[in-house]
């Protein structure tokens, strides 16, 4: 009898110590429109916050864990009406914790419930409400989950790729008709599974809830130095397809998707991400760049691009020279506003912008005229060798 008690005690104790991460999150709904879009239009949201007093923002708070963490995620529903859940998108949790109302549980107003899971493979995941999901996701009830390796360094996964800095971009859209009070704040009949929704015609195209000039904000715009390795965590929670166009000189390497390494790295200056997908991409430039990453949003029925957002990229670290040397060839002046002159005649000269677009070619010349170019940084290929020049 004494021995049996000892064994039971050990079991209870182990269970308690395995619970090493607890996160509290609130689900809320705006009483009036408070989220300001890029053109100063206010819109009403449902969403998740990390504090009860916080305004809803999109995306919701990023949940970060280390691989193997045993997590209790507590959801307190303060939304004044609708039930909510948290679906842990991509974490492959068990049915009870999957956050789908009729297959697990939902959390009613003023209730608190917990989701339990082990943080799986390092990578980028999502969470979102799965109650009337088409509406609640469009309303703003989503966020990122990031799982990092337990290695103590900036590494994609144990034995993976090291990086110096990281950015997480969650793309989505807003159709204001879906955010009207009559839709977002309609009566919530928890006994009915069916819900009438408007046609979807988004007017706003977002990265982390921002667009247009808002994309210069810290945490969205890429600011780095030459040779810095940047990890991009990309997720599409919208209902349109996305295609990212990376400037060629960022040397984009696509390394993983949906929390798993790709069988082989893919080098590409574009990447398409469909709803629900996530990708991780490494960027590294050896050049100074003032460019942008273009992000297309396209209609999945017609494939037509509805909008393109531009995320600024600023890579510093280049030191200007009035006279540069390329092998045995000298070029000057650099920066220049007019002509760049070479120390000898060149067989073939080509000039590119930061997106790799060919702007000028010239044969058998000892200069090129750049007076018609806009100010910026350009890339000169001289007989198959590359050099940076700056237009003043």
């Amino acid at each position: 009898m004494k021995q049996l008690f000892y064994i039971l005690f050990l079991a209870v104790n182990l269970n308690a110590t395995a619970q090493d991460e607890t996160t509290f999150i609130f689900s809320k709904m705006d009483i009036e429109a408070q989220h300001i879009l890029w053109d100063d239009t206010p819109t009403m949201l449902m969403g998740f916050t990390s504090m009860m007093s916080s305004n809803i923002d999109i995306p919701g708070p990023t949940l970060s864990y280390f691989e193997g963490n045993s997590v209790e995620l507590k959801l307190r529903n303060m939304s004044q009406g609708a039930s909510h859940t948290i679906h842990l998108h991509g974490l492959d949790v068990n049915q009870q914790n999957d956050g789908v109302p009729h297959l697990s549980f939902e959390v009613g107003h003023n209730e608190t419930e917990s989701y339990y899971f082990l943080a799986p493979h390092p990578g980028t995941y999502l969470y979102h409400c799965h109650v009337t999901s088409a509406l609640h996701v469009q309303a703003g009830m989503y966020g990122l989950i990031i799982v990092k390796p337990n290695t103590g360094i900036n590494e994609t996964w144990e034995g993976g790729y090291t990086f110096d800095s990281e950015y997480a971009w969650m793309s989505s859209e807003i159709d204001l008709a879906w955010h009207e009070d009559s839709i977002i704040n309609s009566p919530h009949d928890t006994t009915s599974m069916e819900f009438h929704l408007p046609d979807y015609n988004p007017e706003y195209f977002l990265v982390n809830g921002r667009s247009e000039q808002q994309l210069t904000e810290d945490g969205i715009a890429v600011v780095a130095t030459a040779n810095e390795v940047i990890l991009l965590r990309l997720a599409n929670i919208g209902y349109y397809g996305n295609t990212y166009h990376f400037p060629m000189l960022l040397n984009a390497r696509i390394i993983s998707s949906d929390g798993r390494a790709l069988p082989s790295i893919e080098l590409s200056d574009s990447l398409t991400i469909m709803p629900g997908e996530r990708y991780q991409v490494l960027l590294q430039s050896t050049y100074e760049i003032e460019e942008e990453i273009d992000l297309d949003y396209f209609n999945l029925n017609t494939m037509e691009i509805a909008n393109t957002q531009q995320i600024p990229v600023s890579i510093s670290g280049y030191f200007s020279q009035t006279e540069s040397t390329l092998g045995k060839i000298k070029l000057y002046p650099n920066p220049s506003s007019d002509k760049v002159i070479f120390s000898k005649e060149i067989n073939f000269i080509s000039l590119f912008d930061g997106k790799g677009r060919l702007l000028i070619t010239k044969h058998n010349s000892d200069y090129i005229n750049i007076s018609n170019l806009a100010k910026g940084i350009y890339y000169l290929n001289i007989d198959s060798e590359t050099k940076t020049i700056i237009k003043q």
């Binding site: 209902y239 929390g259 997908e277 999945l300 029925n301 017609t302």
Partner: protein, 286 residues
């Protein structure tokens, strides 16, 4: 050693020729209708195994190396075409006429047979099915996924023009069914047990991209007709482009019932009613 190699090669060839066989099938093109999730009948066409109409174009299962010998009969009142996408020639079939198609399938994969006449018109209206070339002894499931706009179906069968650049589908189906009826289709509803190997064969015969998300499990891409570089990727969300086929391998590690649905969440609706669209569940026993 050289002689041994030669003997081995001859041996393999012999085995292959013995195992390869001919598969005789017939397909009948019939114009009729399909019932939507909200019980509306809209004009629709399909290939059928007999001259009796069903909405489901048959799934043709064969092994690699097999020769498919196919008679296609046009029971419609207008001309149709027949082609196995990326493999066969394009055959014209006058109303009331038939064609004979013979095709060898050397490699495992998933192929779409369809009517490419006036593409995408006839394919959109339902004339598309799948040919599964699979040598493995595993449990297979099959999704012919597409979307529908009721007014467009009526306009198209009445020879009216539609603006393909302004396509807005209203119904989203797997094997012609929407939620909750998909789970009643044993070919579509994925069931199995922990530790089993399950294959899901997906053909997108519609016009929209569908981004299918799995709850509970990751799956491995075994075949992609449009993106060969995606083979071997292990993911939880799988875009399927129009006229693309995809074969996924699922090896369930846990029991339970989990949704699989289009993560373009608009596609979970049926005529704007949530959740009457492309939503099903996988059911795994311990």
């Amino acid at each position: 050693m050289i002689r041994l190699s030669i003997i081995l090669i001859v041996g393999l060839n012999t085995i292959s020729s013995v195992l390869a066989s001919s598969i005789d099938r017939s397909l009948y093109i019939i114009s009729d209708s399909i019932q939507t999730v909200d019980s509306i009948y809209i004009p629709y066409l399909s290939f059928n195994e007999t001259d009796i109409y069903t909405k489901d174009s048959p799934i043709i299962n064969i092994y690699s190396g097999d020769t498919l010998k196919l008679w296609v009969y046009n029971l419609d009142t207008i001309t149709h075409n027949f082609s196995i996408k990326d493999l066969s020639d394009n055959y014209t079939i006058q109303a009331g006429d038939s064609v004979y198609v013979e095709q060898v399938f050397m490699d495992e994969g998933l192929y779409i047979y369809h009517d490419p006449l006036n593409y995408p018109k006839n394919t959109y209206l339902g004339l598309a099915g799948m040919i599964v070339v699979n040598d493995l002894d595993v449990q297979n499931f099959y999704w012919n996924i597409k979307e529908h706009n009721a007014q467009w179906n009526s306009d198209l069968v009445n020879s009216l023009d539609v603006d393909w650049g302004n396509y807005v589908p209203k119904y989203f189906t797997i094997n012609g069914n929407s939620n909750p009826h998909i789970n009643s289709d044993s070919l579509a509803r994925i069931t199995g047990a922990v530790g089993e190997t399950l294959y899901l064969n997906i053909a997108n015969t519609g016009l929209s991209v569908h981004s299918m998300h799995f709850h509970g499990y990751h799956a491995e891409i075994m075949y992609s007709s449009a993106h060969a570089n995606h083979v071997g990727r292990i993911k939880d969300t799988f875009p399927v482009y129009p006229m693309e086929t995809l074969v996924l391998k699922i090896e369930p590690h846990q029991p339970g019932e989990y949704p699989i649905h289009d993560h373009n969440l608009v596609a979970i609706t049926g005529n704007n009613i949530y959740p009457n669209g492309m939503f099903t569940t996988i059911l795994i026993t311990p």
